[in-house]
Symmetry: D2
Subunit: 154 residues, 4 copies
């Protein structure tokens, strides 16, 4: 993908816009996820294991992996949208390839194709134990830009 | 799909097995989801809107829709598995077709094809407002049966 | 899905527009597929088994099922688009649920959600033997309307 | 993914097994596709543009991209299966990200996760014009190994 090099001013713009939108997602707070990396076309989210995030065997729930990968895709795409636009997930597909067994879950997303209306993204999810990361899920998502409809109020 | 008519004893068996597995999912408790229907090859889950489940515009988060639809698919499939087997989501794809704006979210799943190892399921998600239900998402999922590896401990 | 009842004039319009577009698809001719039903929001395609359409065991190739289901989704969606617009598949997901063993392959598609820009469709594929139909694949697809860019030349 | 280094004898085994299976796919012959690379966990297929492979605008049909990507995934996975086993596509999802406009279509697949029963693969499709390749589609697929059921007769 060719991305125009964002000037530092542009960067400041999307940094604030993404983080403001993220901060209003009650479900991200409930999961305890934070944005740990954000550059043009890329986003990383992390959450620590708690009993509240588990499935029946005590690992991270597939729903947590899917949610974090989706949000990472959405915000990776949102970095490439213009001010005053809104971000929307059209659809995603996720393959769960290993048990999400670890102390921290990491979702890393990138834009594969940046069209005007649609951004195609993929994300990989890793369960971290100390310095080891296990690749536990992979996602392919279609994200939509709603121009002229801000994601943020006020 | 042809399902063998389950005797009432069989029914009691999977009812208990599914509910026991569900009760150990910390993330379902965190979301506040409950199983509101469970028959052979079908499952329904519901959750009430709370701020903890929202995205940036105050509706149910896509991650909640995806999680509940996935779990509904998993347990719809699990009703058709034998005792002592374990249930695993291989992958799913979800299309988010309308804002999940409502007081309650309902995920209804059914098994489309019941193979020995793989069960293909679909689920539809509805946002309920009073008596009105809005169809807000649709999922297609592949669920795996791990024979001889119980989902429940003890 | 709520569809506005199309007047017979509207019907004539999309019938011609879809069939004209279909006739220019060299790959449909190569497969030997024909449109066997077309109403607002729905399309059915059929093809007869030939050795040219087989996989390694002599059944219809998964690629034939996927192609016909995708085209059926595209034209089901295209019936709901306006004159002078163009149809484009954004993405699709297909589950192959039984061997496509039969003398004829049938793909039946319908629009699940008709947005202005995106139409979400599903399709089911059946292998017919005499009067018996085996459900062999199911698809969920996202179709895009490119307004002001005609699908047909001239 | 960790792949055991295949000895040259192993390599000869899967090379022959894959090519024998491929040669019996009537649809691959009909499309004019050939295997242009095959190593453990990876496969590449190519086909030249002909009118028989086009959609309504004269580019490669999405069905050709999907079919070639699926077959590339299947055989990438099949290199990692044992003799006497059979390969089956469970499901795939494809995003069509640019018009497949070129003189040749190239599908490159690799195994992302190699489980005993299921192999998760992705594939990218490129349309080549001279020395330029345009990335036109990306696929995520689930491939199944049917042990003790040979893909090839005789």
């Amino acid at each position: 993908m060719k991305l125009n090099p964002a000037s530092s001013q542009d960067s400041a713009e999307y940094q604030e816009r993404v983080r403001e939108s993220f901060s209003r997602q009650g479900f991200m707070k409930h999961i305890g996820a934070t944005i740990t990396e954000l550059v043009a076309g890329k986003a990383e989210l992390r959450a620590r294991l708690r009993e509240e995030l588990t499935q029946q065997h005590g690992y991270f729930h597939a729903g947590v992996s899917a949610t974090m990968a989706d949000v990472a895709c959405g915000y990776a795409a949102y970095t490439l949208m213009t001010e005053g636009s809104s971000v929307l997930t059209v659809e995603f597909k996720i393959n769960l390839i290993a048990p999400a067994k670890g102390e921290e879950l990491i979702a890393r997303a990138r834009v594969v194709r940046s069209g005007k209306t649609l951004k195609i993204c993929n994300a990989d999810v890793y369960a971290r134990n100390g310095a080891d990361e296990t690749h536990c899920a992979t996602m392919l998502a279609t994200i939509m830009c709603l121009a002229g409809k801000s994601d943020n109020p006020g």
